[in-house]
């Protein structure tokens, strides 16, 4: 039987639909998720199956409905909230950080908030500074939240099902440029465990750690590097929090070289955490080169296509960083 290929968008939808069929307590709430099908069409068709009580169009009130989902989750329901662009997470930071993330701890373990907040992040669409951000590092820095960022349709489905099962609040980052990406996805439900990285390419020369859309850029770069005789090992974190630094460490022991590729702005991005976890442990002594980060420039995302490309990581920039690292001691990517 041929393997079935579907898009990332369909994989996310399939996970939601599956979970909603299985469990009446799961519902989806967000702006234009109903007849419109969501700004990126992810929930298209769902309201027809589940009705407007379970696929709920909200007023433009991000704090309000994320707060409502937090309460519903505290009562044992399994809400999935959609934030139309991850830039608007700024509106529900209090609900997420001061309420959902902390309720369990503040209550001494007596309570839980099993909510999923899905949101598309990232740049590359010409939507400029307020519709292109990658702010996931904020949530990685927030104890009590988990942060997931799948790169393939397979992982999107499996991780979303795990996120919905999870008794904690999970921030689930999708990427606008991945929605049309196709990949093999089994029809039946399956779970990809949260907190486990995927070594998606084996290589001896350098370890490249990444997640989300950047994973594809890295694989592209890895091919180009292979042509030049450099074999990269690629670690797709998949979950940013909890972070599977053990997987990175294992790879470093072999390669002795670390490059992190992240889309968010470099300064205080999650890549800094990857680097720090590696260098503050034993792995420091396994590194034979200074580690490097390829990340978004420390600027908002500009509108003009060329300007946008200029500030984003690209496969070419990854190749360059790796070559600098491999070639010469001093050629560290700055």
């Amino acid at each position: 039987m041929p393997e079935r290929e579907i898009t990332y968008r369909e994989a996310v939808r399939e996970a939601m639909v599956g979970a909603m069929r299985e469990n009446d307590e799961v519902f989806l709430m967000g702006e234009d998720v109903g007849v419109y099908g969501g700004a990126f069409g992810v929930s298209r068709g769902m309201i027809e199956e589940f009705g407007e009580e379970r696929v709920v169009d909200t007023p433009i009130s991000e704090a309000g409905y994320v707060g409502l989902c937090t309460g519903a989750a505290l009562m044992g329901m399994r809400p999935i909230a959609e934030i139309q662009f991850s830039d608007f997470m700024t509106h529900c930071m209090d609900q997420l950080v001061n309420q959902a993330a902390k309720i369990r701890y503040m209550f001494g373990g007596e309570g839980r908030v099993p909510m999923v907040v899905r949101t598309p992040g990232g740049a590359g669409t010409g939507a400029a500074a307020q519709h292109s951000q990658s702010l996931e590092a904020w949530f990685v820095h927030t104890p009590g939240l988990k942060v997931v960022m799948p790169s393939t349709p397979y992982d999107a489905k499996g991780l979303l099902l795990s996120a919905i099962d999870d008794p904690n609040t999970v921030i689930f980052y999708e990427h606008k440029l991945l929605y049309n990406k196709k990949g093999t996805v089994p029809e039946e439900p399956y779970r990809v465990p949260l907190g486990e990285a995927n070594v998606s390419r084996i290589g001896d020369d350098v370890t490249i750690v990444t997640a989300g859309l950047m994973h594809h850029y890295v694989l592209e770069a890895a091919e180009a590097l292979a042509d030049a005789g450099v074999e990269a090992e690629v670690v797709d974190l998949r979950t940013l929090s909890p972070m599977d630094d053990a997987a990175v460490r294992r790879s470093i022991e072999k390669t002795g070289k670390l490059v992190v590729v992240e889309e968010d702005v470099k300064t205080a991005g999650w890549g800094a955490e990857v680097v720090s976890r590696i260098v503050e442990g034993e792995s420091f002594y396994s590194l034979d080169r200074a580690p490097a980060r390829v990340a978004g420039a420390d600027v908002p995302i500009p509108y003009n296509r060329d300007l946008e490309a200029h500030v984003r990581p690209t496969p070419e920039k990854v190749v360059e960083a790796v070559r600098n690292l491999v070639d010469a001691r001093k050629g560290v990517y700055a």
Binding site: A63, G67, G71, L74, M75, N98, G108, G109
Partner: protein, 318 residues
């Protein structure tokens, strides 16, 4: 209206609440509790009157000024005292303190250190009741200061369009910290804001327990009947400072004295006397009894074990 036994019980709850907060106030003054706390003294009739109208399975959400709500909801003063002293046996096992006392299983969905922080949670509980077809409702307590937060607006609107079974109970105690409601808004009554959402608004004399009870009962009936939320405003006053550190520069002694004259506990006790439900010396006795109950709670709590330091690293994730 409640039967006689229930009415005496309501008086008892108010007294328990008053003594609890007066005790905590003393403990702060003596440096025996750390962190901060906000006292409900003067507002007891609101929590007790409103919560008396609830039934099994209903829930409440509370605020930074939450001791009174917790006691009225039936939380155990022993475990509350233990929490304030940071003990392992407290409601939050010492992790929460005054501003986070909760008993989710029982339906007390938590005090909250964030002004307006529990309004989404209350709507979520109401949402769950509605989705599950349960005949239950939520009361969401908050101060008049919280009605200027955006979350107030967003949640009231959603509760209205979806007809959620929730009662928004604004305790208008005249100040948000030092900010007078007269300066913080340009309207007469907070309940006037209800019309912005297409829900009924009602203002009651918060010091009169029966008024609070009756209005809440009506609002709850509406909620349970699927007619949606109500914005209730209870006019009240806090006698003590906003929190333990408040020089009260923003109000006058006279103002405080005037309000103390219409004390909700005195008032309700007098009503009960008038109804022949309770004699003066009986309520003096009740007063003393509840005072001792609180003394005992803190005494007992002080002998409870501290949590293990390592427990600080637990309970981040379920």
């Amino acid at each position: 209206m409640q039967n006689d036994g229930k009415r005496v019980e309501l008086l008892r709850q108010m007294l328990l609440s008053r003594h609890f907060d007066e005790k905590v106030n003393d403990l702060y003054a003596e440096g025996k509790v750390h962190g901060t706390a906000h006292f409900y003294v003067g507002q007891e009739s609101v929590a007790v009157g409103a919560i008396a109208a609830l039934k099994e399975g209903d829930v409440i959400t509370s605020t930074h000024r939450g001791h009174g709500h917790a006691i009225a909801f039936g939380l155990d003063v022993d475990r509350m005292a233990a929490e304030l002293l940071g003990q392992a046996t407290g409601y939050c096992h010492g992790k929460g303190g005054s501003m986070h006392i909760a008993d989710v299983g029982a339906g007390m969905l938590g005090a909250n250190g964030i002004v307006g922080g529990s309004m989404g949670i209350a709507c979520g509980a109401a949402w769950a009741f509605k989705r599950r077809g349960q005949d239950n409702a939520a009361i969401c307590f908050f101060g008049e200061g919280a009605t200027n937060e955006g979350i107030f607006h967003e949640t009231l609107n959603m509760a209205a369009i979806w007809k959620l079974p929730v009662v928004f109970l604004c305790e208008n105690n005249q100040y948000g910290m030092s900010m007078s409601v007269k300066k913080a808004t340009a309207i007469e009554n907070i309940s006037d804001r209800a019309s912005a959402y297409g829900m009924p608004g009602v203002t009651v004399a918060g010091s009169t327990l029966d008024e609070v009870y009756n209005a809440t009962r009506e609002a709850l009936e509406r909620a349970r009947a699927g007619e949606g939320p109500t914005l209730m405003e209870a006019i009240t006053y806090r006698y003590l400072g906003h929190s333990k550190s408040d020089a009260n520069l923003y109000r006058t002694r006279e103002e405080i004295a005037t309000w103390r004259k219409q004390d909700p506990i005195q008032r309700f006790a007098t009503v009960l006397e008038g109804e022949g439900v309770l004699e003066r010396d009986e309520w003096r006795k009740l007063d003393e009894e509840t005072r001792l109950r609180i003394e005992e709670a803190f005494e007992k709590a002080s002998r409870e074990p501290d949590p293990q330091p390592e427990s600080a690293l637990e309970d981040v994730y379920a």
